[in-house]
């Protein structure tokens, strides 16, 4: 079964590298572990993106290989590869790179890969925990940084609570339906008249656990701290691959397992979306730290994706998938830039450090501006179109009030994003900023910005991203 290739390959490569590293068998391989892992992830990403069509199930439905899983795999692996490529220079400059780092990243990716294609609640849980444990370690990776330790601790505690809520929800659902396989749960829920109280509470707990893992407000408390405290490459990895994957897991659970209970979870998702957008918009205003700012920005973007999920329609899921990909790419570009910001050999990340960037580095400032506009959802960049699709799906599903609330939150949020542009273009610089851009950082920053801009041109057709999302959504909902 082709669907097993990504998960198995990442795990095998990761574990073999670990063995080689631990036993100090081959110094050359040890030194090249980042590149090897990146190459594996990139190769798999391309392989999955071009893999067969159709839906396939293995282990009596516990693993599903469908367009949604393949799109998610491709996104996760792509983000993993990019993060690994851009993080090496940064970690070497901070003198914290060692051979476990890429292995932990790869293992975390493997966990999410399993989770997004799982058709069984327990397998989902195992995948997510595999990912979470690796991420906790990665957060505290820089042992000399107290902020990193704080972030990791918060992450462990809140992540643990989320996991246990999720697990408890699974237990209740098992009690109500007698199964942990998604297909059986759907059948049981569809057969029963009305919604059992136990099943409803179970679903709610699953939703809350997943929302917490996906950093949706009001269960987002760990996100700004992780974004600020964790090493920048780890924050980038969490903000792109991990939360997007978690949101996709949520999509699969809701649409494939709990489809009969749509009337229950739809308002929950819409509420999560509204609160996330509001929290993000308010949180971004007055933020002085760029990393924390990005953490809040991420919450808003996830809120937007939750809006698409909450629409409860095929178009909604497709728009959410497109939005996840678009903002993930924009964030990767921004993080690639963030890693290069230095002054006197120290990494800096205050928003005021960007002041006057447009005069010092006009090219980079323009690219950064494009990415910021994309996150703000302003035309003519890709972020506008993905937000438009989400709003469109929401309105089409009849949730006009929520769409209006989301719109208001977007107005407030645009202030925060615009402030970054103001700092770069209007403010005069006080101290010079050194940009330690290696080739990969440049490529990712430029590539992300170029995709944001060119993707919206006529004739390019958005690189077929939305078509892929539509195929994924169609296969999911059937």
């Amino acid at each position: 079964m082709n669907g097993l290739v990504p998960a198995l390959s990442t795990l095998i490569v990761g574990l073999s590298l670990y063995a080689i590293g631990q036993l100090s068998l081959a110094e050359r391989i040890r030194a090249l572990s980042t590149q090897i892992c990146a190459a594996v992830a990139l190769g798999l990403s391309v392989y999955v993106a071009s893999a067969s069509i159709g839906t396939d199930r293995a282990f009596s439905g516990a693993l599903i290989d469908d367009p949604l899983a393949r799109m998610a795999h491709s996104m996760i692996l792509g983000a993993t590869a990019v993060v690994l490529l851009i993080s090496k220079g940064f970690l070497i400059r901070r003198a914290v790179l060692n051979f476990e780092y890429p292995i932990l990243v790869l293992v975390a990716a493997a966990g999410t890969i399993v989770a997004v294609s799982s058709g069984n609640l327990l397998i989902t849980y195992v995948g997510l925990e595999l990912c979470a444990v690796a991420i906790y370690a990665l957060c505290a990776y820089n042992t000399r940084s107290p902020r990193a330790a704080e972030a990791a601790l918060k992450f462990v505690v809140l992540g643990g609570v989320a996991s246990s809520l999720f697990l408890y929800g699974i237990a209740l659902i098992y009690g109500a339906t007698g199964s942990i396989a998604l297909t059986d749960i759907t059948a049981a829920l569809a057969a029963e008249e009305g919604v059992g109280l136990i099943g409803g509470i179970g679903l709610l707990l699953v939703c809350i656990g997943m929302a917490s893992k996906a950093a949706m407000a009001p269960f987002h408390a760990w996100m700004p701290d992780v974004a600020e405290g964790a090493p920048i490459p780890v924050a980038a990895f969490v903000a792109t691959a991990i939360v997007a994957a978690t949101a996709i897991v949520l999509v699969r659970l809701l649409f494939q397992g709990f489809e009969p209970l749509m009337a229950v979870w739809r308002p929950v998702m819409l509420a999560l979306a509204s609160v996330s957008l509001a929290v993000s918009a308010i949180g971004m205003i007055g933020q002085t730290n760029l990393r924390r700012f990005l953490g809040y920005a991420l919450i808003g973007q996830l809120g937007c994706a939750a809006l698409g999920i909450g629409a409860g329609t095929e178009a909604g899921v497709a728009s959410a998938m497109t939005h996840l990909l678009v903002f993930g790419l924009a964030l990767l570009g921004l993080y690639a830039f963030l890693m290069t910001m230095e002054r006197d050999g120290q990494s800096v990340s205050k928003i005021s450090d960007l002041s006057g960037l447009a005069r010092l580095y006009p090219g980079q400032a323009a690219l950064l501006g494009l990415l910021t506009l994309s996150l703000a959802g302003l035309p003519p960049v890709a972020g506008f179109f993905s937000k438009l699709l989400v709003l469109w799906a929401t309105v089409e599903a009849g949730h006009l009030v929520v769409a209006t609330l989301a719109g208001i939150a977007m107005i407030v949020g645009s202030f925060g994003y615009l402030w970054i542009i103001k700092v770069m273009y209007v403010d005069a610089h006080e101290e010079t900023l050194d940009l330690q851009s290696g080739p990969f950082e440049r490529i990712v920053l430029f590539g992300a910005a170029a995709v944001m801009l060119i993707g919206a041109f006529p004739l390019v057709g958005g690189f077929g991203v939305h078509e892929a999302s539509q195929a994924a959504a169609a296969a999911l909902i059937e």
Binding site: L378, F385, L388, P458
Partner: protein
């Protein structure tokens, strides 16, 4: 001409120019700055000459969209451009104003390359607004114009530039989001985003009838139903742009802070987005709602005219005065649009064109004064006519046109609008005429304070009259003001047939919804 994709070329040329300017030109010394200015002038002039081909190729008798280009865009959206009699004059105005803006910034010395590139991007966006035939494409241009303007005010402005830029952006954004949500609803209701159907298509938004059955929302009966809600969303968006009272507060701040070229673009072109939007969307797509809400909109316009004129009387700064004057002038436009009869609509469109030319002239005049004395405070001047006769003459012409002196373009627009409004709401016409009287008050008063009397201020004793470059900016506008005033049919022949066709459609819809009309009465 069809296969040349002329319209696309005109939309994209400034954008390409901006990309070249930003990407290729290096250095920030005097030579590089001059090159940037020359290049921007070349591009904007070329755009203007290209747009002349549109004017000559346009058939004014044909009310349909012409120069239509249609292609696939993103996931189901269309890239669709076209012009009719209403959009063509605005496109021409845009192409005409931008070379003037570049010339008006000739003395700029800081970050010239960026300034010119942003100006070019802005030109593309504004032309796109007037040329797009797909509502999403329209929105992209409409909203895309915000960022360059935000940066122009924020970087090159004076005074409270950051505050003004954010206020401008956020106020516009409120309107844009309302528009975006309404747009999403319309697209899902009508199943298309094309404004007008073209060969081989079932229907565009113009052919779709949106529901207008009354319903109750949160205890309030919505007369005109869905149409009224959509109308309101569009209204918020376009009223912020126009700007109508009470959505106007951003404009005086923006004008006071913006550099002259940005003020010219903002006043002459971007304020027209509102009126153009009303004509393109609100009137033809929500006819029932327009009937329901017309009195409300006319009342707001009346408040705008009288209130803004009164506030203009109190202004101490020329730029703020011009901002309030704009609000009053645009009040005539919105009043005319919602009176929605032949004279009123003709007057509204004419008034928009006239105001575009006038306000450009007035801000260029303010720029001349700002260059010479570093101030636009009215009290900083006095008795300038003796040393600047040509300048004083030009400014007199613009001010008289604002007041509505016969023989100037201002007269035609205001007069037609008042006649049209009188037929549907005589009280409003009376109030608007009162506004004209007040405008004579502030216009003549400010002229007296700046130009007449004796030249007492020491720093003004050596002030020079406008030089050749400044004359080249201001005189074409002055000539246009007189030309359109004396021979208004030159413009009204362009948009007249389109407005006739639009009114015919409106009448048809009104006739087909007689029950509703009776209910209204």
């Amino acid at each position: 001409m069809e296969d040349l994709k002329l319209l696309s070329l005109i939309v994209c040329l400034p954008l390409l120019g901006a990309a070249l300017l930003a990407g290729v030109l290096r250095g920030d010394d005097a030579a590089a700055q001059l090159n940037a200015k020359r290049f921007a002038l070349l591009i904007t002039t070329a755009t203007f000459f290209l747009s002349l081909f549109l004017l000559t190729g346009f058939d004014p008798e044909n009310p349909d969209f012409q120069f239509v280009e249609d292609g696939a865009w993103l996931g189901g959206l269309r890239y669709k451009l076209g012009l009719d009699g209403i959009s063509l004059p605005f496109l021409m105005l845009t192409a005409f104003i931008f070379p003037i803006c570049v010339l008006a910034s000739w003395s700029l010395a800081t970050r010239v390359k960026e300034f010119m590139a942003l100006l070019l991007v802005l030109e593309s966006m504004i032309i796109g607004v007037f040329a797009s035939l797909d509502i999403v494409l329209f929105f992209v241009f409409f909203e895309g114009a915000l960022i360059p303007m935000f940066l122009l005010i924020g970087i090159w402005g004076g005074g409270q530039r950051v505050y003004a830029a954010f206020k401008f952006f956020l106020c516009s954004m409120v309107g844009s989001i309302a528009l975006l949500i309404a747009l999403a609803y319309m697209a899902s209701d009508a199943g298309t985003t094309c404004i007008a159907a073209c060969a081989g298509e079932a229907a565009g938004l113009l052919d779709h009838q949106f529901a207008f059955e009354n319903f109750t929302l949160a205890g309030i009966e919505i007369v005109g139903g869905t149409q009224t809600l959509l109308w309101l969303a569009f209204f918020i968006s376009f009223a912020v742009k126009t700007p109508m009272w009470p959505f106007h507060t951003w404009l005086p701040d923006a004008h006071a802070a913006a550099p002259i070229a940005a003020s010219v673009v903002l006043g002459a072109l971007m304020l027209k987005f509102g009126g153009y939007g009303f004509l393109r969307f609100s009137l033809p797509m929500f006819p029932v709602a327009t009937d329901v809400m017309a009195a409300f909109a006319i009342a707001l316009s009346l408040v705008a005219i009288v209130y803004a004129s009164l506030v203009a009387l109190m202004q101490e700064d020329l730029k703020r005065l011009f901002a309030y004057l704009s609000i009053a002038q645009m009040g005539f436009v919105t009043m005319g649009i919602f009176a929605s009869n032949k004279q009123a609509l003709d007057g509204a469109v004419f008034q928009m064109l006239s105001h575009g030319i006038l306000i450009a002239g007035l801000f260029l005049c303010a720029g001349v004064l700002q260059n010479r004395s570093k101030s636009t405070e009215i009290s900083a001047f006095g008795g300038l006519a003796t040393r600047m006769p040509i300048f004083a003459g030009a400014m007199l012409l613009f001010i008289l046109a604002v007041i509505g002196l016969p023989g100037t373009s201002g007269f035609v627009g205001e007069f037609l609008a008042i006649i049209g409004v009188f037929q549907v709401a005589s009280w409003a016409a009376f109030g608007a005429a009162l506004g004209l009287v007040i405008s004579a008050g502030y216009g003549i008063w400010v002229y007296r304070r700046v130009f007449l009397g004796s030249l007492l201020k020491e720093n003004l004793k050596q002030i020079r009259d406008i030089d050749g470059r400044e004359a080249a900016l201001i005189l074409p506008l002055a000539v246009l003001v007189v030309a359109l005033g004396v021979y208004p049919t030159a413009a009204s022949d362009l948009f007249g047939p389109t407005i006739d066709a639009m009114l015919e459609n409106l009448e048809e819809v009104r006739a087909s919804t007689t029950d509703f009309a009776q209910f209204l009465q």
